[in-house]
């Protein structure tokens, strides 16, 4: 028996979501009185995983490009090899792509968007967010093998320092008719999924030409940028930045909303974020009811001041 975690990496470096999934896996393994095994692809040195309680690492070097079907098959074989009864994945785009395939492969029930360690092991019950963060659902997984998708930034990073024993794993994998022909990804930008801070703006910014202000604020904070639905519908910003019920959910430590009134769909999308700050000219904007801190004021006056003061603060505190 064991707990298996799929620890996603990019160019040999683990994603924060992967380390969070490992932290979660360690908590489950401890509760079950068993060990945590990680599966990685193309990671030269996986010793970092030991920091989060991973006892053994299976590394696959035989697969070069990401392919959901092949990765899912590899995870299935690793789970079988390690007799894993719980398989943990993160909430990254790739992990969410893979998890349903692993679920069918292992005939294992799958709960996604899980926000806390299991409240009970037998029956196996986890709390997951549902209704786009408007509610939580305590979900029982009743199959012998369970799959848990851990929500970003929900469990946090928990250190349990041990030495991870690493070995090469070479499952037998079929080819796939699906191939990635090109990837379009800005390498220098923080993504919404990985960001600790997200700076988001709405129609209050009056036009796409004013987004320099938002990008400057994001730069100071090392934040990702996002936007409201009307802004993406108007074409001011790409769809990939749209936050809300039909866009991206944001589960970040700090969410700063500038010139966003706070429609119910938008507020649902950001509900899992820990601290919310709103800057809006309208004191009646619904966002003020959902925020922790607020400034009633004009973004064009407040944000430049905020950028300037944050630069001073960062200079003193780093």
């Amino acid at each position: 028996m064991s707990v298996l975690v799929y620890t996603e990496s990019e160019q040999g470096k683990f994603k924060k979501a992967a380390l969070e999934a490992a932290s979660y896996g360690k908590a489950v393994a401890d509760a079950m009185g068993t060990t945590l095994v990680a599966l990685t692809f193309n990671v030269g040195d996986a010793s970092e995983l030991g920091t989060y309680g991973v006892e053994k690492v299976l590394n696959i070097n035989s697969v070069t490009a990401f392919n959901a079907k092949i990765y899912a098959n590899a995870i299935k074989q690793a789970a079988e090899k390690e007799a894993a009864t719980v398989v943990i994945l993160s909430a990254s785009a790739d992990s969410r792509y893979i998890a349903p395939l692993v679920s069918v492969g292992l005939s294992a029930g799958y709960a996604s968007n899980v926000v806390a360690a299991p409240s009970s092991l037998s029956p196996f019950v986890v709390k997951r967010s549902a209704f786009t963060n408007k509610a939580f659902c305590n979900t029982e997984i009743s199959t012998a093998v369970k799959i848990v998708g851990v929500s970003n930034n929900s469990f946090g990073l928990v250190e349990n320092i041990i030495t991870a024993q690493q070995e090469e794993f070479s499952p037998s994998l079929a080819t796939s008719a699906t191939t990635v022909t090109s990837v379009d990804k800005a390498s220098d930008k923080v993504t919404i999924a990985d960001a600790e801070v997200v700076v988001s703006a709405g129609r209050g910014l009056k036009g796409p030409e004013n987004w320099g202000l938002i990008e400057d604020l994001a730069d100071v904070l090392g934040a990702a940028t996002a936007c409201s639905k009307p802004v993406s519908d108007l074409g001011w910003r790409p769809h990939s930045e749209h936050v809300g019920q039909t866009g991206k959910p944001v589960a970040t430590n700090l969410y700063i909303a500038i010139g966003i009134s706070g429609a119910i769909q938008h507020l649902a999308g950001i509900n899992s974020s820990k601290i919310k700050v709103v800057i809006n000219t309208d004191p009646e904007a619904p966002f003020f009811k959902a925020a922790d801190y607020g400034i009633v004021g004009d973004a064009f006056e407040v944000v430049p001041k905020l950028i300037e003061k944050l630069k001073v603060f960062k200079a003193q505190n780093t």
Partner: protein, 248 residues
């Protein structure tokens, strides 16, 4: 090309979410139901395949008779025929199992579902369905072109997108981007009249196969009142974020 669009019948995005029976059931009282937005983008893209590439488009939903108006709306938008699997959508696995049986029966070339429903947000039905019928699978799909049996799809990834080459049969987890918001269609009177005459077949489900179930629901703890900071005193906000919230 035979195309199937999976339709989930979900609360409108403006709905307030409440629970009944000791927080074990979703309270549908006063809730307006709509086509799941992620499915509607897929349905609209399917209409393009129908009009430009002569595809036939069936729509399918799992649920009781109360889901039929949602299917009729899909027919009014332009789908050719509808299938309702007469079962409660207990979990993603059960829904995928029912859909897989119907998909095999109909021998569809392309199945478009939404990347997730906006009610349970499981995000698992399209992938499970693809695995069950051994079809290719692309989720978070924001662009889809078909040429014969060759497919070019674009998938949104964290921080960007990737272009994927694959072949039919294929299952898609669709979302905004497959078509634009402005491309969505409101059924006109002619469409609504025609939809009444289009076939809506009710199919009894294969055996029950839930792997998970909702034990109980809870709502987020209401947060305290917002702390307002004067617009001339942004230093105060920085202090609060640093000392009190500890997020910077």
């Amino acid at each position: 090309m035979k195309l199937l669009v999976c339709i989930s019948h979900v609360p409108d995005t403006t709905s307030k979410i409440n629970f009944s029976e000791g927080d074990t059931k979703f309270d549908t009282n006063g809730v307006q139901f709509v086509i799941n937005p992620n499915d509607e983008f897929g349905l609209t893209r399917a209409m393009w395949f129908k009009e430009k590439q002569n595809a036939t488009v069936d729509v399918i939903s799992v649920g009781g008779p109360e889901t039929e108006p949602t299917l009729r709306k899909a027919l009014a938008i332009g789908a050719d025929a509808a299938i309702r699997i007469n079962a409660e959508a207990t979990d993603g696995h059960a829904v995928a199992t029912y859909l897989a049986a119907a998909a095999k029966e109909g021998a569809y070339d392309l199945i478009i579902a939404g990347r997730e429903s906006i009610d349970y947000n499981g995000g698992m039905v399209p992938g499970m369905l693809a695995a069950m019928i051994d079809a290719n699978f692309v989720t978070n799909c924001i662009s889809l072109e078909i040429d014969g049996t060759n497919v070019t799809a674009v998938r949104e990834i964290d921080g960007g997108k990737e272009t994927i080459s694959t072949v039919l049969p294929l299952v898609i987890g669709g979302q905004k981007g497959l078509v634009e918001e402005s491309d969505l269609r409101i059924p006109n009177m002619r469409g609504i009249m025609m939809a009444r005459k289009k076939p809506l077949k009710v199919v009894e489900p294969t055996s029950e196969t839930s792997e998970t179930h909702a034990v109980s629901f809870e709502k987020p703890v209401p947060r305290g009142a917002v702390k307002l900071v004067d617009a001339d005193n942004v230093d105060e906000l920085i202090k609060l974020l640093h000392n009190e919230a500890k997020v910077i």
